[in-house]
């Protein structure tokens, strides 16, 4: 059988002008070739010579009309390749789709560039989307209350006693006012295991002021705050579903809360938790003018709903006036400074004030990362635009308008940005878990970050915006090529000086931003290091703590309470594995302040001028100092002999002693609680303990710390503290000890909950958790920023080195040594990075001030950090410049001079 002639070439020649879509063309060629071959084989089989048979078969193609003409009329031809971008035949959408396909093809062709750009953008957009999710949930999304923008709160120091609240409710013309206790914990009993629950005592109109209803039953009615009518409770949805198992007949049921039978009048709507996410019940605020202690001394926050037509400023003016007016109502002399600066702020702003600084700083950091990513991609695009100079010049030469070129190049940027955005969204959802650990968990809104669609929309919009931002300038520059030069040199040397300058400027900017982030990270690392070096003032090892919460009524008779804890501590000591035990009303580092107003002997204060100083007032059993390893610097520790009937004594902290008695011994000095006449004698000075947190952020109004013997102690409600935390020195398994203590408690008093079981070591670790997470976030941002900046600098240096191949070749040919060339290229990298470093140092002086509140013992201009960062940046510059410099140093002048 003869060998088949090459039909395909013949057919391809004839179809050349038809411009068929490639796939269709291949099919047609295959089919026609098959036909011609069948013809040919038949002819040869019937005796024709091979050449003759081939000619006859080919004649079939030359029929009239010729195959090309016939096919053109029949088969749909392919869209013409865009030789010139700018053919005005397609609609805008058509052009867009074509540009999109073209962009995908172009980007697929350079996977390295595409991957780098997409990863840069994914990091930038992902970080921002993750932050946005939290920002949106906490700061932007309105509070879940009706017309929540009308809700205000007396600002952070604006705490009022119930008497003041009643006065405000009566006098205010600008808003409807409600108050609530900031933190109230009561025992829920009668359901088997006792529970310690967090709730709030609220004024009757609180639900109305917030504009929320209930799921079942009703809210409080006017007059239900009065003694005798106030044994009511509204349960949260979670409490109803949890402890009460969704009992449908819950309304009207009497539950034992805080040792008092309270009638359930309502179940709050699902998700409602005010003032914080842990709130499980609401009871009426106790408003009894006859009860002087609570009516004028229990301070609480106050919220209000602005009346129609009233502005925030009007309300601010009014509350300032009313607070001054209220000064006269206090049954005791109230410091004038209490009423100073009273104002109201929007409720959302007030509720989020604890988290706002962190959010702002983190948002700034991720914004910087995005800016760096944009600058990086813009630099990459500029470099690519230079490489594609010839292609663009050809398009312009054959008639593409500048707008079309810009549109095409922008489409490429958008494709990159959208790809980066898609990966960024995935990153954002993963990053949320990390971000949450860096922020206070009890913040409003953190519990419910909301659905992801807003994040998707945000990331999409951000992608488009960034695509336009980093794509526009390179596209505008690239769309104006020097045609003659570009086409002649293939774009190798056509890059203008302006373009080179722009790329360098981008790198300098990128480095500067990275410097800011790196300095931020450096400061946080240093701050955390200093924080971990802080001695908390006690020995946390082998100390187990657990809270015991009897009802306050147990301490109605002081001796009963004292006996209860004496008995408890004695029996706990008998548990195998417990070496020592003690009790305290608060633990160090717990961010709780049992504060009492005091008068210090020798420091008279004028009540009308300012409020009395407040001391952190610990109530501890005598063994507490020994067990916690708190050293006694002067005098003695508390002793069992400091009993209820003995003369009242206290131990003060060293800082307190220094503040009040700097040049004399504090032993024998006296301190008085403002509401009583007896004086407490200072018998000892204990080493300072970080009571509030490791960084010692206790509020300004706390002027000192004192320890009272439990048997003599009084809290700010003038009662013996009922809720105490046991601290145990154990050498056995904590779970065993805890279960034994629970058994013990069931025997002693089954209605007393035992909870908050923690080791002191974990408490210390938790206290650095937030700064640690913040630091890691910053370190990762800075690492990404440095990496991007290094890659950017490397790109610029290696690109310009490639551009200068010819020049470097001449230098070498004229006698330059390799180390000169090496230095020349490395010098370029160093210059870029050093310029960025200088700029970044300047910017960081201004920007790191935002970080000041998160730093411990570290100034924002910390010299060690700045020097280290400079060193890191120089290392980055050397690393970025090393490879291109070595390549340049090894240039063969012969090859270089022959280069195009």
């Amino acid at each position: 059988m003869p060998e088949d002639p090459d039909w395909k070439t013949e057919i391809v020649q004839r179809l050349a002008r038809v411009n068929l879509p490639p796939a269709r063309e291949a099919e047609i060629i295959d089919e026609l070739a098959g036909h011609l071959n069948d013809d040919y084989q038949r002819l040869v089989a019937s005796g024709a010579k091979e050449e003759e048979a081939r000619e006859i078969a080919l004649e079939g193609l030359n029929d009239r009309p010729q195959i090309a003409e016939a096919l053109r009329k029949v088969v749909r031809t392919a869209p013409r390749e865009p030789i010139a971008l700018g053919t005005p035949r397609l609609s805008l959408t058509g052009t867009f789709w074509r540009d999109l396909r073209y962009a995908m093809r172009i980007l697929r062709r350079s996977p390295g560039f595409t991957a780098l750009a997409v990863i840069s953008l994914a990091l930038g957009i992902g970080g921002n989307a993750a932050m946005f999710r939290i920002l949106n949930a906490v700061l932007i999304r309105p509070l879940p209350y009706a017309d929540s923008d009308r809700l205000v709160r007396a600002d952070h120091s604006g705490y009022y006693p119930p008497g003041g609240l009643v006065d405000l409710q009566r006098e205010s013309r600008t808003m409807e006012v409600a108050g609530y206790s900031p933190g109230l914990e009561l025992n829920l009993t009668g359901l088997g295991e006792p529970w310690r629950l967090r709730g709030s005592a609220v004024s009757g109109n609180l639900f109305h002021v917030l504009g929320v209803g209930v799921e079942l039953g009703r809210t409080f009615r006017p007059g239900e705050e009065e003694t005798g009518r106030d044994n009511l409770v509204i349960l949260s949805h979670e409490l109803w579903q949890g402890q009460f198992r969704g009992d449908p007949g819950i309304i009207g049921r009497v539950v034992m809360l805080g040792g008092t039978g309270r009638e359930v009048v309502g179940v709050a709507a699902r998700g409602f938790a005010f003032p914080d996410a842990a709130t499980r019940f609401w009871i009426p605020l106790h408003l009894d003018p006859r009860d002087r202690t609570t009516y004028w001394e229990g301070y609480m926050p106050v919220i209000g709903r602005l009346r129609d037509g009233v502005s925030l400023i009007q309300a601010q003016h009014e509350i300032a006036t009313l607070s001054l007016h209220m000064l006269r109502l206090f049954p005791y002399t109230m410091g004038r400074d209490w009423a100073a600066n009273m104002t109201v702020v929007p409720l959302q702003e007030s509720l989020t004030s604890n988290i706002r600084p962190e959010l702002v700083v983190l948002q700034c950091a991720v914004a910087l990362v995005l800016l760096i990513a944009c600058a990086n991609v813009a630099g990459l695009l500029l470099a690519r635009a230079t490489a594609r100079q010839k292609e663009i010049a050809l398009r312009v030469a054959v008639g593409a308008s500048r707008a079309r070129i810009v549109q095409q190049l922008l489409t490429e940027s958008l494709v990159l940005a959208l790809a980066g955005g898609s990966f960024g969204i995935a990153l954002a959802f993963a990053a949320n878990a990390v971000l949450e650990t860096a922020l206070p968990a009890t913040s409003n809104g953190m519990a419910n970050l909301g659905s992801g669609w807003q994040v998707l929309a945000y990331a999409g919009a951000l992608s488009l915006l960034t695509g336009m931002t980093f794509g526009l300038v390179p596209a505008l520059i690239a769309s104006r090529p020097d045609l003659a030069l570009a086409i002649k040199t293939g774009g190798q040397r056509a890059a203008g000086a302006a373009r080179a300058r722009l790329r360098s400027a981008l790198i300098v900017g990128e480095v500067a931003l990275a410097v800011v982030l790196t300095i931020g990270a450096g400061l946080l690392i240093r701050s955390l290091w200093k924080l971990t070096q802080v001695s908390p003032g006690f020995q946390p090892q082998h100390v187990l703590t657990l809270r015991v919460s009897p009802e306050q009524s147990l301490c109605g008779q002081r001796s009963a309470c004292i006996a209860f804890y004496d008995e408890l501590l004695r029996r706990v000591r008998e548990i195998p594995g417990v070496e020592d035990d003690a009790a305290a009303n608060t633990l160090p580092l717990s961010a709780e302040i049992p504060a009492s107003s005091v008068k210090v002997e020798g420091f008279p204060y004028v009540p009308a001028e300012r409020a009395a100083p407040m001391f952190w007032a610990g109530a501890v059993t005598p063994d507490y100092f020994r067990l916690m390893g708190i050293s006694i610097l002067q005098g003695r520790a508390l002793e069992p002999s400091d009993s209820e009937s003995a003369a009242p004594v206290i131990v003060v902290s060293a800082a307190t002693a220094r503040r009040y008695w700097p040049h004399e011994s504090p032993i024998g000095k006296h301190v008085q609680l403002v509401w009583e006449d007896r004086w407490w004698t200072v018998v000892g000075v204990a080493a300072d303990v970080r009571q509030f947190d490791l960084a010692d952020h206790s509020p300004d109004y706390i002027r000192g710390a004192m320890y009272m013997p439990y048997a003599q102690a009084e809290d700010s409600d003038r009662q013996l503290p009922a809720v105490m935390t046991l601290v145990l020195h154990t050498n056995s398994e904590p779970t065993y000890v805890v279960s034994r203590i629970r058994d013990l408690m069931r025997q002693m008093n089954p209605s007393v909950p035992v909870d908050e079981i923690r080791s002191m070591v974990s408490l210390v670790n938790e206290s650095t958790q937030q700064p640690r997470s913040m630091m890691w976030l910053f370190v990762s941002f800075a690492a990404v920023a440095l990496l991007l900046a290094a890659v950017g600098a490397y790109g610029v240096v290696s690109y310009t080195t490639a551009q200068r191949t010819f020049e470097l070749g001449v230098r070498v040919a004229l006698g330059a040594r390799r180390r000169n060339i090496f230095g020349l290229v490395l010098g370029q990298s160093l210059r870029l990075v050093l310029a960025g470093l200088a700029l970044g140092l300047g910017a960081s002086l201004a920007l790191t001030r935002l970080l000041a509140t998160f730093l411990y013992g570290t100034a924002t201009s910390d010299a060690l950090t700045l020097v280290t960062v400079c060193g890191v940046l120089v290392a980055v510059a050397l690393a970025a410049g090393f490879v291109p410099a070595r390549r340049a140093a090894n240039i063969d002048p012969v090859v270089a001079l022959r280069a195009d």
Partner: protein, 142 residues
Amino acid sequence: MCAAFRPPFFPHQRSLTYRAFLRLYTLLRYIVVQNLELKKGSAELMILSLVEDQPRHGYDIGRLIEQRSGGTVKFRVASLYPLLYRMEQRGWIHGRWVEKAGQRRRRYYQLTKEGRHVLAAQRRGWLEFVQAINCIAGLENA
């Protein structure tokens, strides 16, 4: 049937010459107007008829037309395939590639449902045309 071709105008003209002229005119007019369609239609009719019972590839179709017309009608590559593609585009036939062991792959065309309707209509059209020819050929007997 033949009366169908009697023109409606000049009904009062009854002379034989006149009637013969009119019949001839009608036929010529029919042929002129339909000529292109008929030529094209005849090729389509042939192809549709050949793939009516079984799918066939292009070479097979070309050979069968040549054989069955006794060599009178020949389709060359340049005219056969554009026609096949057009018919495929119109949805009358459907082509698909078939590979058989030891052979190069071939594209087989088979009649579609729509193609079947077209084939029936074209057959009717041709029948009418042939009858018209017969009417003219049998003019004396009309």
